[in-house]
């Protein structure tokens, strides 16, 4: 399956808090910083081989962080629809395992949100 890549310049905002989460990103080159509200606190710097924006996998979500390119940045971008197509095309154990991973992430986010004392770092891109 082919996924397009896109290049961003220094300072480009890939998404901001509250945006609809419809794209998942895998970094080919460059770096991106993630910031979380309310004070736009720096969360993490991600580089080549890393991925972010997994809320797109849990379709219907919104961004809870802001992503800004800190160097020239090239990402492979997957839409929620293409992710779904990729999942549906799997015919082995990987499909239910992957779906269960997403379900575990969804539930973990709910637990983090309700019981932050159990998981101090609750930010999700």
């Amino acid at each position: 399956m082919y996924f397009p890549s896109k290049t961003y310049q220094v300072g480009d905002v890939l998404f901001t808090r509250g945006d609809a989460a419809n794209t998942f990103y895998m970094i080919e080159s460059g770096e991106v910083d993630l910031f979380v509200p309310p004070a736009n606190t720096f969360l993490v710097r991600l580089g080549p081989g890393e991925a972010f924006g997994e809320q797109a996998i849990l379709t219907g979500g919104i961004r809870s962080a802001t992503a800004i390119a800190v160097t020239e940045l090239t990402c492979v971008e997957m839409t929620a629809e293409s992710l779904q197509d990729m999942i549906q095309s799997q015919k082995t154990l990987i499909r239910p395992a992957f779906e269960a991973l997403l379900l575990q992430l969804y539930l973990q986010n709910s637990i983090r949100s309700a019981l932050p004392e159990l998981n101090p770092s609750s930010a999700q891109a």
Binding site: A51, E54, M86, L93, P96, E99, L101, Q108, A114, L115
Partner: protein
């Protein structure tokens, strides 16, 4: 804190016809917009032929804090009590136990005990890791970031490199 419960509302799924009276999913609901993404995932998992059903009796311990997972469980019916130190909460249908931890090779953070008669589907950790290693690179990347986000870890687990 003892009143917290996390899980899928299976009564809603039955009410809108996503599963029948025996809890079996109906195929036409796959694109039903009434379902949230997590309800879609749960409904699809119920119909998967790759997962084996397991029953736990009330009071039976699934895992203790510090133990390693050999199999993961997806709860389909029933409820578990999750103990974290002196605190506890409950999880029900849709809760996935031990999959990310097993893949990443980290021990259970929680002790989990069946609060009621429990029906789960198991997923072999070893088979899952074997599948991830040979799957599409894009899917492998998503598995990696999903596991790391779920566990809130920043180093890539050996099994996902």
């Amino acid at each position: 804190m003892d009143s917290f419960f996390f899980g899928i509302n299976t009564q809603k799924l039955s009410k809108i016809g996503a599963i029948d009276n025996n809890g079996v999913p109906l195929s036409h609901v796959d694109h039903d917009t009434k379902l949230s993404s997590e309800e879609h995932l749960f409904s699809r998992l119920r119909s998967s032929s790759f997962l084996r059903s397991v029953i736990f009796n009330k009071g039976q311990t699934l895992i203790r804090q510090g133990e390693m997972f050999e199999d993961a469980h997806v709860i389909f019916q029933g409820k578990v009590r999750v103990t974290v130190g002196d605190s506890f909460f409950y999880m029900g249908p849709g809760a996935v136990i031990g999959l990310s931890e097993g893949i990443a090779g980290v021990p259970s953070r929680w002790t989990i005990q069946a609060e009621t008669l429990l029906n789960t589907r198991t997923i072999s950790i070893k088979k899952t890791i074997d599948e991830i290693r040979v799957t599409d690179s894009g899917l492998r990347s998503i598995c990696r970031v999903t596991v790391m986000r779920t566990l809130d870890i920043h180093d890539v687990p050996e099994s996902l490199k």
